[in-house]
């Protein structure tokens, strides 16, 4: 079973990205679509010219250059590729290095799995970029990475070029281990309260500041030409925190309650760094002014609530209320399925809090791009930006919208018609593999039989219920919300 799945994944890998097969490779022309630019309105019967993976022109009166591959999008809608600011797809194994309270030495970028089928599934939901985060088991968690969903490419090709790396912080119930009992015989890990969570973060930054000072002194003396200097001892736990202090690494802080959000803003002020985004931030609406003043973004859920105590005051108006007070807000998934419907989730902020359609779209495009510092390259349909696009059969803010194509860097990475057309071949390949496996098993059995005479007969009295054969593997929810 496992082997077969692996082969299926390989088949996809060979297919993607889908080449357009034009004489003028690298030049693609999407024509006659409703173009939702996000930054400068919607263009009816609009076209997008793509050259070498970048948007070269957008408008209503463009002409296709000779030899360009044409994507006819008559009656369809093109929007910027969706950016998911909180994802755990494409991670090999657990997302949590849950041992120490500060696991900043662990890096998600080291364990990217390009064969995770959820990359393809989310791509089929219009997602082109995702912020791949460490889990929320620690006040200071592991390092994070922004990727493009370049399905079929190796892990080294996934990271979003030039995007600043991040680090996951986590406040509240998860880092203080409220909802999972400590196994018997295991000493509970500090911290066990929100008080302790703050202390862990402050202590870590006191050490990081000290460590930074040692290095700064060393580098300064070295620069003056001093000889025979011994460099400070490298500390891989503190290195990323120094990057935070230097503004070279973004802090993405998992948070729920208003008090803990204010706590981290205070701690960040004390040490002179900025929180780039508060993730989940379900009580962000209670202190939207304070978040806005701190310069942090808010990346939240649409309508999740009551799954734990700190989510009991969560309201679906959160995105709209924070946006109204000037917070840059995105709506994220934290879940491979939710990512496939982020267009639907964004639409809910029109119902809850009255955002305009364009502001609703921003929640999953331009705003997460700003939060991740990639808005010069992604998040809207503007000349010069990467051609990361999602094409829907109708207005993507409708529950009835279906993704037809997803492009990254101007290449079609998902094509619904092609996916459907390829299913028969996939089923055929699966059957062939199953047959081969069955044949091999039978041959092996026959061989064993000829070697020794059968001693036992199968008990025919007990008739078991139906059985498809093969063990069933259960998926384990790698929850981190």
């Amino acid at each position: 079973m496992k082997r077969m799945i692996f082969c299926a994944a390989l088949l996809f890998a060979v297919c993607a990205p889908i080449t357009t097969g034009a004489q003028n490779p690298g030049t693609i022309f999407i024509q006659n679509a409703t173009v939702l630019t996000v930054t400068h309105g919607n263009i009816e019967h609009g076209s997008i010219l793509i050259r070498d993976g970048k948007i070269a022109a957008v408008g209503a009166d463009l002409k296709a250059p000779e030899g360009a591959a044409i994507i006819d999008a008559t009656g369809q809608y093109v929007m910027p590729g969706i950016i998911d600011c909180h994802s755990h797809i494409a991670v090999d194994g657990s997302v949590n290095e849950a041992g120490p309270a500060v696991s900043s030495m662990a890096n998600i970028a080291d364990v990217l799995n390009p064969d995770d089928i959820n990359i393809y599934r989310d791509l089929a939901g219009g997602v082109t970029t995702a912020n791949i985060l460490h889990g929320s088991a620690n006040p200071i968690g592991g390092q994070t990475v922004v990727i493009k969903l370049r399905w079929g490419k190796p892990a080294s090709d996934l990271p979003f070029e030039g995007a600043l790396p991040g680090i996951k912080f986590a406040l509240g119930e998860n880092p203080k281990h409220s909802n999972f009992p400590t196994p018997p015989g295991v000493t509970p890990r500090y911290p066990g309260t929100r008080l302790g969570v703050e202390e862990v973060i402050r202590q870590a930054f006191i050490e990081a500041r000290e460590y930074k000072k040692q290095w700064d002194d060393y580098n300064q003396r070295k620069a003056t030409g001093e000889q025979n200097l011994i460099p400070p001892r490298r500390n891989v736990q503190l290195d990323p925190l120094v990057e935070v202090l230097e503004g070279k690494r973004y802090v993405h802080a998992h948070s729920y309650r208003a008090d803990e959000i204010l706590m981290l803003i205070r701690v960040a002020d004390e040490f002179g760094f900025k929180v780039r985004t508060f993730q989940h931030v379900l009580e962000g609406y209670k202190i939207a002014d304070e978040i806005a003043a701190s310069g942090a973004g808010g990346s939240t859920f649409s309508d999740w609530w009551a799954y734990k105590m700190e989510a009991f005051d969560a309201i679906p108006y959160n995105a709209a209320l924070m946006a109204d007070r000037g917070v840059i807000v995105s709506v994220n998934s934290d879940d491979a399925q939710e990512a496939r419907q982020l267009n639907q989730e964004a639409a809910k902020s029109m119902k809850y809090g009255g955002l305009s359609a364009n502001d609703a779209l921003k929640l999953i495009t331009l705003n997460p791009a700003i939060q991740l510092g990639i808005d010069a390259r992604a998040g809207s349909i503007d000349v010069g930006k990467d051609a990361d696009l999602a094409i829907y059969n109708r207005d993507p803010l409708s529950v009835y919208a279906v993704v037809q194509k997803t492009l990254i860097d101007g290449q079609v990475y998902f094509d619904r018609q092609r996916d459907i057309a390829g299913r028969a071949k996939l089923a055929e390949e699966k059957q062939a593999l199953l047959d081969k496996e069955k044949k091999a098993a039978e041959a092996k059995k026959a061989e064993e039989k000829s070697e020794k005479a059968p001693e036992t007969k199968p008990d025919k009295k007990k008739k078991p219920p139906h059985d498809d054969g093969g063990a069933v593997e259960s998926g384990v929810a790698g929850g981190s919300r």
């Binding site: 209670k286 609530w305 005051d313 399925q337 496939r340 009255g354 305009s356 529950v399 069933v472």
Partner: protein, 446 residues
């Protein structure tokens, strides 16, 4: 932009004020309402333009284009709006689950594997914050099913207890109850070689032969329970109470083995569904399939045995790595096309309000829109034997009605008026209250 928002909100506020719906109460003096001027979707015939729905004493008294409005009826002007039966979420944990991670707020999963005597209605909390939140999105009645969490998260034993149907408004369960027992919940066993062990926080692997043995043992045990219940029923019929010992568990199973109470079997994998159908056929039980993530693989069997399916949320991941990416989205339309009765369901609490979204997604992938409406309003009532009271706008039925400003399956649609048991019911809830409270928070001093 900010001004725009404010003005749209102001309009919404003025609208809300003009409705003048008192905080919800079942002691309202009005017993008669006339909803007039809207487009009425009865689900029992073609839509009626400019129709009137007359409500009296909690029930629908008349529906039509030329219905005379009695003098004592409070008139609700639905001009430009649409009128539908309320939505019905048939497998939920509403009232049994307040905060999922806080066990003190849960009454979902009793200890032990066989609990047929337990009834959800016993512990449904009428003051749950989920009730007003859910009904504000147009869901007027639900079934709470103990232990039936569906899609791979089963708990609460193999026979988890009896599911109860109730309206999402009322001071007590006595006032809310539609039917205390609508189905016996059976969590069909699964064969899982790998499972997550919370005690050690790691994945435990067991040999296939071992889990297979456990599986067969569970299925046999379920059979034993049904056999014993049948003997108990015979003793009840033919003997006198003095001759047998009263057994609450067997007593609860008697309506099941007599075919009076359906079994709601929660199963996802094709193999498990086949085995469950096999079991129910042999035991002569009325089966409703719940969840059924791979029901699309056994369409012919379900059609042949006339087994309805309460669908797992449409918005979910495919079962296997090589399952088509859109299979959960197309499954409802495939089952419908095969002639299998379907109903959408949330299988949850906080996401019960997503019910129309699940139906809408299925429409995007091929389910006819009018069938999707039935699958959130009418079909569950039929599947659970409540269609004489619910599911359509027809005289004599319970007046559970929603008045919307558009397509109830679309994400931006608002429920403007809500009637439960014929009472105009407020759509206020915890979320809107917090919204109003914090929307007005003054800028903090800097």
């Amino acid at each position: 932009m900010k001004i725009l928002h404010f003005s749209s909100r102001a309009v919404a506020l003025i609208l809300a004020a003009s409705l003048a719906i008192p905080a919800w109460t079942q002691t309202a003096t009005t017993t008669s309402y006339a909803i007039k001027g809207g487009k009425v979707f009865t689900l029992a015939g073609p839509a009626i333009e400019n129709g009137t729905v007359l409500i009296r004493d909690g029930k629908i008294a008349a529906v039509g284009a030329g219905v005379a409005i009695p003098a004592d009826a409070q008139v609700i002007d639905a001009t430009g709006l649409e009128v539908y039966p309320g939505m019905f979420d048939p497998i939920t944990q509403i009232g049994l689950n307040e905060v999922s991670a806080v066990s003190a707020t849960l009454d979902l999963s009793e200890l032990g594997d066989y609990n047929p005597e337990l009834v959800a209605a016993t512990a449904v909390n009428p003051a749950s914050a989920h009730i007003p939140v859910t009904r504000a999105n147009g869901i007027t009645e639900v079934i709470a099913a103990p232990g039936a969490t569906g899609f791979d998260l089963q708990s609460g034993g193999l026979i988890a207890g009896q599911a109860s149907a109730f309206n999402l408004a009322g001071w007590t369960m006595d006032e809310m109850r539609i039917n205390r027992s609508v189905a016996m919940v059976i969590n069909w066993p699964t064969i899982q070689t790998r499972s997550f062990d919370f005690a050690s926080f790691s994945i435990k692997e067991k040999p296939y032969a071992d889990v297979r043995k456990e599986y067969d043992k569970s299925v046999n045990a379920l059979g034993d329970w049904m056999d014993r219940a049948r003997h108990y029923a015979q003793a009840q019929e033919k003997g006198s109470p003095a001759l047998y010992e009263r057994d609450l568990k067997l007593e609860a199973l008697v309506p099941v083995v007599r075919g009076k109470l359906p079994v709601l079997v929660i199963a996802d994998e094709a193999r498990d569904i086949r085995n469950a159908v096999d079991f129910c056929t042999k035991q002569n039980l009325r089966m409703i399939l719940g969840s059924g993530a791979e029901a699309w693989k056994v369409k012919e069997l379900l059609k042949d045995k006339k087994i309805p399916v309460v669908l797992a949320p449409t918005n979910r991941l495919p079962e296997q790595e090589d399952t088509p990416y859109d299979k959960p989205y197309t499954e409802p339309s495939e089952l419908f096309a095969a002639g299998i009765p379907i109903a959408f369901s949330s299988f949850g609490t906080a996401f019960s309000r997503r019910l129309p979204q699940y139906a809408g997604t299925a429409v995007a992938y091929g389910l006819p829109h009018d069938e999707a409406l039935k699958a959130v309003m009418l079909n569950a009532a039929q599947i659970f034997g409540l269609a004489d009271q619910l599911g359509t706008l027809e005289p004599g039925k319970l007046a559970n009605i929603i008045v919307t400003n558009g397509d109830p399956l679309e994400l931006q649609t608002q429920v403007r008026y809500l009637f439960i048991k014929g009472q105009l019911t407020s759509t206020d809830n915890k979320h809107r209250e917090l919204y109003e409270q914090y929307r007005k928070r003054p800028q903090p001093a800097r």
